[in-house]
Symmetry: C2
Subunit: 219 residues, 2 copies
């Protein structure tokens, strides 16, 4: 993709070492994250709403019921900030002050556009399914025209973007290194478990590989 724009909003004022503007890092975080947090202002109040999403090239797709007030505010042109955060580790330093988290986070700024073209709506729908489980869109019944009409699909540009990344061990003051306290990182990550059949599933329907062997199953 085109390198995202660096603006005042995406320039980190502190900790420039944690700021990243590389497209590859931004795309990787967006592709690994399953939920984003969408921020916007309505009636003078800030709102932060969790939503599913999927990336296709230089855009994110968001979707939901046509009556969803977050999507309606965004479709009406509200400026938004979309943040995706992956938590990677709990950083336990010797000093309380130096405790931290390892994480990768992307912030996007911009305005969404409503997707009205049916071909793009179907593409977005497939991308949203495949983002949850790669290949799922080939198995699911595609959206019917009436379903598309009751769904609001939005396109959000990955244009004004930044990433923040912290990795590695704790950073303690040199004077604390002789303390007898354990220090290190407890790694954490989102892991998939064994799929649970729908109670109404037709007997003998096999669990597809993208569910049984989901990319987030422990290896």
């Amino acid at each position: 993709m085109v390198a995202p724009t660096v603006t005042d909003r995406t320039t980190l004022r502190r900790r420039r070492d944690r700021g990243v503007h590389e497209s590859a890092v931004i795309d990787a975080v967006l592709d690994e994250g399953l939920m984003c947090h969408v921020g916007f202002t309505a009636g003078g109040s800030p709102f932060v709403v969790p939503m599913a999403f999927a990336r296709v090239g230089d855009d994110l797709y968001l979707h939901g019921a046509a009556a969803n007030r977050t999507l309606r505010a965004l479709a009406a042109g509200a400026e938004a900030c979309v943040t995706v955060t992956l938590l990677d580790g709990l950083v336990l330093a010797r000093a309380a002050f130096h405790h931290s988290m390892n994480y990768r986070s992307v912030m996007l700024f911009g305005r969404a556009s409503r997707v009205v073209d049916e071909e793009e709506q179907l593409l977005a729908s497939a991308a949203l399914l495949d983002h949850m489980a790669p290949g799922r869109s080939a198995d699911a019944r595609p959206p019917a025209p009436a379903e598309l009409r009751s769904t609001l699909i939005l396109r959000f540009p990955i244009a004004e973007a930044s990433a923040k990344v912290r990795t590695g061990p704790p950073v303690d003051d040199p004077g604390d290194l002789t303390l007898p306290t354990w220090a290190g990182v407890v790694p954490v990550g989102l892991v998939a478990g064994t799929p649970v059949d729908d109670p109404d599933l037709l007997a003998g329907t096999p669990v597809p590989g993208y569910a049984a062997d989901h990319p987030r199953r422990p290896r």
Copy 2:
């Protein structure tokens, strides 16, 4: 805790069945979540920033460097929305349209106050450590006065609050139940792995139980 206030902002306009105002549900989500997403408006733009937090009674504590612009905006009285989301499952329906996520999410609205009392600062610091790993605050070197001066600790009230919860299997249209497509839920959750020693750790320092047997280790 006192029952949170139900306002226009915390009243779900749709899907009232997914809206919860019970304190016990709200507290449970806040206690399980490790990161929150803080939304506020600055210079006319919405921002959504991931942060660590901890709950103590009817308040959340947030903290960071005194120069952190999110904390400074909040300390200056900016209205904020703090959202904590736990992703529990990928809901694969037979129809693309009915795919969903199982999750538990809490939204808090309000304004933060700066914590200036040293006793409360130490309480907040301990809560933030124990939220990452229960018991950690007893082992870590407590914050020194100079460290407290370079830290901004904020108290955010759990007052205007709501939770949203989706659980259970997919909900397909009756006409789709005879499709040969697998449907069900792929459970997901945040899992802790084996702790990684700090490279500078004194030889022979044992890994404490709250790290080796962290509450998020698979059972």
